[in-house]
Symmetry: C2
Subunit: 194 residues, 2 copies
């Protein structure tokens, strides 16, 4: 019987291999065989962890949740600077953030086909908007955004803008280097303050 | 030997089945077996049309291109109204537009994993932005947008906003009914004019 430490180390190896396969081949390329090959292990070993494709996809999304929650976040003063920081935290400005986004964008295909995964994805972005909301509300109360702003609409708009920019930057990194992504976000935020 | 008309009719049946499978199950669920089942045909028949998965995916993307190009478009006066119309043409405001968008959003997973498909997708959105550009340039020359506007940045921003709104509306249709999508777009366009 393997020691507990071996077991945990093996689980981490499996998770790393799942992540690398996803970042390179997306959900369409996420198979037990591909993960096994990435680890230099047998497909049989993998079926011990994942009885089927759905379990593998669920593990991959759990990993993405965990890594998204544990990534370092920018710190900024309350209000508009915090909104900007929270949106910059999402953009693919680094290779690690690009891998993360590539996995989330790829997950939309499965989310739109599976009611359970779709509901989790719906709640994920609803929660994201709920976390952005206090920054927008504070920006209004501090006078950084017009008093007439519809806070929920600004939140929905900023979230949409940011995810769309993620997509375009991933699909065309040459046209959207990090400095350009940041400039587009700043121009977007500037229009809100007028 | 079947008559030419039969051949064309069968090709249309195949394309319809591919489209229905994609709209329901996405690229992750697009298999020869699923398309055959959708048609009530044998997988063997399908291999006559598609020797492998890549050929099936390429056909699906070709269909999406064709249907996107042939869909009815809104007409509007030049400048800002044309920009608005072109962006409304993209949003999932009808069931048919939602199916179309669901397929494009799902295609990003494969586009990010396959260099050929990725390059086609990059050009697709580059071309889309090129088609939006004259509307923005006219809006500036007509004084609907500030003379100081960076036309390319406005185009990139509007395209990002619209695609992000597509994603959020598909993943959470209850929170983004058509009227709300339109209101968010109008609020976004209003910020540009200030």
């Amino acid at each position: 019987m393997p020691a507990r430490g071996d077991h945990d180390a093996r689980r981490r190896d499996v998770s790393e291999a799942v992540w690398r396969v996803l970042a390179a081949r997306g959900f369409g390329g996420l198979t037990l065989r591909a993960v096994a090959a990435e680890m230099g292990a047998s497909t049989g070993l993998l079926t011990h962890y994942f009885p089927n494709k759905k379990a593998l996809v669920a593990h991959a999304l759990g990993l993405a949740d965990e890594r998204t929650a544990n990534r370092p976040l920018r710190e900024a003063p309350p209000g508009l600077p915090s909104l900007r920081a929270a949106l910059l935290d999402v953009l693919p400005l680094t290779p690690a953030a690009a891998d993360m986004n590539r996995i989330w964008v790829g997950s939309w295909d499965v989310a739109l086909s599976d009611p359970d995964l779709g509901e989790r994805q719906r709640l994920r972005y609803q929660n994201w908007r709920a976390r952005l909301r206090p920054h927008v509300a504070t920006a209004v109360s501090q006078g950084e955004l017009p008093a007439s702003s519809d806070v929920d609409a600004v939140v929905a708009s900023a979230a949409a803008f940011t995810h769309g920019l993620v997509v375009h930057a991933l699909l065309d990194p040459g046209a959207y280097p990090p400095a350009h992504q940041t400039a587009l976000l700043d121009a977007y935020l500037a229009t809100l303050t007028l």
